[in-house]
Amino acid sequence: MIKKNTPQERRIILKHADDPKYSNKIGCYLKNDGYSMLKKAFKMKPEEIGEEVMKSGVRGRGGAGFPAGMKWKFLDRKSGKPIYLICNADESEPGTFKDRQIMHKDPHQLIEGMMIAAYAIGAKQAFIYIRAEFFKGAHILEEAIAEAKEKNFCGDKILGSSYSCDLVVHRGAGAYICGEETGLIESLEGKRPNPRIKPPYFPAVLGLYQCPTIVNNVETLCNVKHVLEMGGEEFAKIGKPNNTGTRIWCVSGQVQKPGYYEFECGALTLGEMIYDVCGGLLPGRTLKAVIPGGSSSKILRADERFTGKLKDGSDFDWGIEDIPLDFDGPASVGSMSGSGGIIIMDDTVDMVEAMANINAFYAHESCGQCTPCREGSLWMKKITKRMCEGDARHEDADLLLSVANQIEGRTICAFGEAAAWPTQSFIAKFRDEFEQKAKNGNNKPSLQLI
């Protein structure tokens, strides 16, 4: 590999985030040309904004990467029912901490993006659904909304126009599943956040209070502002085709400089991220594995070769360090960029213990509504916990894989996949470690059937 210069961040969303002179008050935001895009938006027709977002190709930053403009187009406008806009600020995926930065450091950017989006889709009411643990974030947002209302950037007759849209912060009660959009909607309605069955409950048709609803991630909604600023076509030039704009990558795990970094999509590889941007691994360690998109994405092994065809038809032959950081890169090697949470693991990590940790999370967070996820996630947790406690059996690896396979694709929401993919990939990539546990760890009396 030819040594290149350290890739440079391109900060659009987090432009002001770490400027010591920048504050989250509206005065500071206005001084930096804040809310000028909202004013611009109100001179446009709502459909024109939607068209720009469509042209920009901006994909959802919450995890699934669905094009935002397309999502807006699915809105059922014929029903005559009120339309709702919800910002999904339930950032809960282990390894992800980007939305928090935006809300803490630049809340008005989110509010501006939301009000542009609300105007574009014709929303009657907008909500920010924020996870319970972000109490400071909720407080900052509430203050910012009050400031914005005072200046007439949201609320009644925005900027003197005939359009009114209130913005409300709603705090969750501490459940990962509230990040699933239909679970979020149920929670917002005041119910237990059991995700809804789809069909028929697609939010764009039957969402909040059975009305058409758009649910977008914090980062996605911030992007709307920048799409308007640059124009859709110009925005689409950032990054790569089908992977437009910047992404905020959240690097955690055993690197020298973990943190959040905003890059143009595809501007750097995973290797550059680890070694150049994050300062490499801790002294004396070697890379073992990477989870590229939050804990639910499939793990990649450091010594793997990834080959195949890209979407444009060209062949690729990559090591883990060559994987480009965008939407399609991690996807083409069988994982996903998800919510941008890159978890780095070095050679000190016991993969069975890492698996046990992830399984414990999903068993704890399963809503319990549908059978495979409810029972499967707890079962996998019990198996890996037992393995770590020295009671591993040689058949446990196969059993884990089988349980995961029995969950995947059979649940109401994508939580089933989120719970199954880690196990499937850990067993596929690190089966040797799971089997080793059975060989050397059996220092306990054999299990009693209970």
Partner: protein, 566 residues
């Protein structure tokens, strides 16, 4: 594509066979029509779709069309390609559409079913030997039919509350609960009494009552019937009897004019429980809790089991003959009952005709709950109208009779199970009047009867009732009556025969129905007892639409006068 001319039917491909099914129904129902079982727990035809048990997963595909042009995509044989969905879909939440292909037995489907069964059982206590549901448990049935037959689970099972009292009549075993939410949806959607919900998350989710609430509505025991496993149990029936010993007899609830279809479960002549029987035109799959208690009257302390003449025990034959003697050439009044069957009312009408007795009828009324407990608390008021026993709508008072008695118009009274002393007739009115009482239970009237003839409860005889919608519904004897007693029809026929100079009144149901259905003007015209369908027969009650029926709008019922206004 469907080439079916009938627009309300669509053609789908079910396991490789083209079949016609009604449009708009889901895959579970569509498959059931053609004899294919799609196993399910949370789906119930009369509740909203929850889609949470995942047992009804099937493989589904629809005919492919070009997204741009909408044109059919054909394979090289010119047949439209099927776009199979790569994941299994829920049969309960997927409605049929023209040309849809469904596989209910592919390896993807059976693999899903095995997986779901295993998951449902990993934290299940497997206490079938002491579980009331054993024998009628969907977990047992589907584990046998769709499970792997062995367990791979060696971890500790979850521990949950074993005997929570959700209300006065329902006891919950949370470890057995598979969290299908049928009970929750029933309380919300049918009874509008939202008291049940889940607490905690994941596999530790637990069914419970909301704080300060209890499951005490008059439909609470339906949650026990709805529960596909042994989690919700009837406190009354709990640990009393293994269900496979029970004989099930279809019957009709006599609590009110709703006429809920029921199943009477008995063993060796003793009734153990009453459960609803599905009838989508009458009671869906529900019944009241109060209706389930009615079987207790069969063995109650105040049951009349011995015939009695002037306070002395007698044989049934003697009692009937003294009653016959009392009827002859007397100034007779007959008090009929809305609790008698259609056939009994018919014979009573005939008895009145032959004895020149004057007919009186009394109603029993209460509050209407808007579901299955009607204001009219008798099962067969409309039978009394249809058989001609009464032309006018009865009141709950017998003031006409009282007036006539006080004027000395009658010297003999035949009473069918009614307590006339609590409905306006006084003891003074009855001075010098001979009373013949036919009934099942003791009351003040039976206490002063000169001739007391025990009769049978609806559980012990066969007959038919006409409910509030004028639906004729038959029921069969479920348990034998007390030793030595005869059905009411036999007693009434004997009394008629003692008055007849020629011919004979048969007590046989088929014969009685021949007579009933003979007049061309009768609403029973051309009907026979054995031809009444198991879900009843809708009669035309237009003739009585002028009457002021007391029933309010309720499940499958709209009052006639309300309809006219609308």
């Amino acid at each position: 594509m469907s080439s079916n001319g009938n627009s309300s039917m669509v053609t789908i491909n079910l396991d490789g066979k083209e079949v016609d099914v009604p449009a708009g129904i889901n895959i579970i129902e569509a498959a059931a029509i053609h004899g294919t079982e799609v196993p399910h727990y949370c789906y119930h035809p009369q509740l909203s779709v929850a889609g949470n048990c995942r047992m009804c997963l099937v493989e589904m595909g629809t005919p492919m069309r070009d997204r741009g042009t909408g044109e059919a995509i054909l394979d090289k044989d010119g047949v439209q390609k099927i776009g199979w969905i790569p994941k299994p879909v829920i049969g309960c939440g997927t409605n049929v559409s023209p040309g849809m292909h469904v596989k209910t037995n592919s390896s993807m489907v059976t693999g899903s079913q095995e997986g779901i069964m295993e998951f449902l059982l990993v934290n299940h206590p497997l206490d079938c030997p002491i579980c009331d549901q054993a024998g009628e448990c969907r977990l047992q049935e589907f584990a046998t039919d769709y499970g792997r037959g062995y367990s791979r689970y060696v971890e500790r099972k979850n521990v949950k509350p074993k005997r929570t009292k959700l209300g006065p009549r329902v006891t919950l075993d949370d470890e057995r609960c598979i969290l299908c939410s049928r009970c929750i949806r029933f309380c919300q959607e049918v009874v509008d009494d939202d008291v049940l919900g889940f607490v905690d998350r994941g596999s530790f989710s637990t069914l419970t009552c909301f704080p300060g609430k209890e499951l005490s509505n008059n439909y609470s025991l339906n949650t026990v019937d709805l529960c596909p496993v042994g989690a919700l149990t009837s406190t009354d029936f709990r640990f009393k009897m293994r269900v496979w010993f029970l004989k099930e007899s279809p019957s009709i609830c006599t609590e009110s004019s709703a006429g809920s279809n029921i199943v009477v479960s008995s063993r060796e002549g003793e009734i153990y429980r009453i459960t609803p029987r599905r009838n989508d035109s009458v009671n869906d799959s529900w019944m009241t809790d109060s209706g389930r208690e009615l079987y207790k009257q069969v063995k109650s302390d105040d049951r009349i089991i011995t015939p009695n003449i002037d306070g002395e025990s007698s044989t049934l034959a003697d009692a009937i003959s003294s009653a016959s003697e009392l009827l002859k050439d007397k100034k007779l009044a007959i008090v009929g009952s809305c609790r008698s069957t259609v056939e009994e009312q018919y014979l009573l009408t005939k008895l009145a005709r032959n004895s020149k007795g004057k007919k009186y009828l009394r109603g029993h009324f209460g509050d209407d709950d808007g579901i299955l407990l009607a204001s009219d608390r008798t099962p067969n008021l409309r039978g009394a109208l249809a058989t001609g026993f009464s032309a006018k709508y009865p009141s709950d008072q017998l003031s006409d009779l009282s007036r006539a008695l006080s004027k000395g118009q009658f010297d003999t009274l035949l009473v069918m199970g009614e307590d006339i002393l609590d409905s306006g007739v006084t003891r003074d009115d009855l001075k010098g009047v001979k009373v013949i009482y036919l009934g099942t239970h003791r009351n003040e009237t039976s206490a002063l009867a000169n001739v007391l003839i025990p009769t049978l409860t609806s559980f012990e005889k066969t007959g038919s009732f006409i409910n509030r919608t004028f639906r004729l519904q038959s029921f069969k004897q479920a348990v034998p009556g007390p030793a030595g007693l005869l059905p009411d029809l036999h007693i009434l026929a004997s009394l008629i025969n003692s008055l007849l100079e020629e011919g004979e009144q048969s007590a046989d149901l088929a014969q009685i129905w021949k007579q009933l259905s003979k007049p061309a003007t009768s609403i029973f015209h051309k009907l026979g007892f054995s031809s009444i369908p198991s879900d009843g027969f809708q009669l035309d009650g237009k003739k009585w639409s002028e009457l002021d029926f007391v029933e309010k709008k309720a499940l499958h019922f709209s009052p006639a006068n309300q309809l006219q206004e609308a």
